[in-house]
Symmetry: C2
Amino acid sequence: MPERGPSRGRPRDIDADRRILIAARDLLLVNGYAALSIDEVAGQAGVAKTTLYRRWPTKDHLIVAVVALMQDDVPILDTGDIRADLTDYLRQVADGLNTMRRAGLPESADDRSAGVVAEIAAAAARHADLGTLIRAVFARRNAMAIGLLASAARRGALRTDLDVAVLFDQLVGPLYYRILVTGEPVDHPYLDLIIDGALRGARPSHAHPA
Amino acid sequence: MPERGPSRGRPRDIDADRRILIAARDLLLVNGYAALSIDEVAGQAGVAKTTLYRRWPTKDHLIVAVVALMQDDVPILDTGDIRADLTDYLRQVADGLNTMRRAGLPESADDRSAGVVAEIAAAAARHADLGTLIRAVFARRNAMAIGLLASAARRGALRTDLDVAVLFDQLVGPLYYRILVTGEPVDHPYLDLIIDGALRGARPSHAHPA
DNA sequence: GCAATATCGCTACCTGGGTTGCGCAATTGA
DNA sequence: TCAATTGCGCAACCCAGGTAGCGATATTGC
């Protein structure tokens, strides 16, 4: 895949990409997905609508690009303390979700809206390429988390007869479930409960062999 | 809340509601959410567009109504065998999700689309009333499942020191996570793994399940 | 300098969700 | 029978996502 095509013809205005993404991010965080209009983004970026569409073929693509850019790739550590490391990881996930959840919403205290998170999920459902894209964005971090579990199992901190991928799902799944379905809060106490529940059965049992 | 207002004026055509919902359901299952147009639903139902909007103020409301109608309220049993009862419950949930997931998609074998499920989640995020509505649709069934866990705890089949609501999240959350985020399949083997993982740490430490 | 190429901005347009206004139809109450 | 009320179908309209065509502009290669 040649990243650079033959540089014939008028080159793209690289700065336009930046201005568009910045305008889109600002409008997204302030107004939310629905109220963000392409015309407004283009206008605020000082760019024609067609220029924008030459880069991102749909509004969904633009928003996913914005969200992807907002994900800073903080590495998760393997300190040897699984509970602490998992806590660190889940807090990163929860922070990202909670930020997106509130985007564009008024400060109504007990909103149950999934906000932008649900729109991203819907965008991924509408366009297969966006699904693979956002999955790729989180792939590294998720792989690190699963590696965390695997390494814990290797050193005897977790049972060796369990599927770490499934264990991972039981750690992360509830967060998305709360954000996208029930609307309940995803705070630190909840994360602790989730980790407790997942690790409770994952510890090697010396009392009775499995 | 008077369900019946004063029946003054021309009464609503009850059959129109039925025809609209049927047309919407058919078009939704065949074409999916995006390709379903309100004009087409109205046309196929033999109804003016305004008549449709008098009943459901947005496309989201209509689709949620359709999906709510498709949820038949199958009671879940408490036979005393938690694993069997949970399997029964999770299969109901998975069946519903998988049906919605495939709605309107061509028969491409390995699609990862969340399909209608993601659109429902997004609709709930856009309109607060729809969020409470769909939650109400599943409230009974979910309450039964949680009651299942509570009753198992009471009779000593589960530990008594755990939060059954959290345990419930760890059972159901992974299914939604796979459907809405990863796109991985949610089949019976996966359900077994999830139940295994959740129950492994939930058994009382002195008990041995058969 | 000049052809070829590709972007840019602009305008006009199509589509589908959603609204408005109006004349007509169906019901209730007097 | 007649007024009040409410639903219905129709047509026109607004708005935002997305597309198409075009002249102008900026680059590469000769």
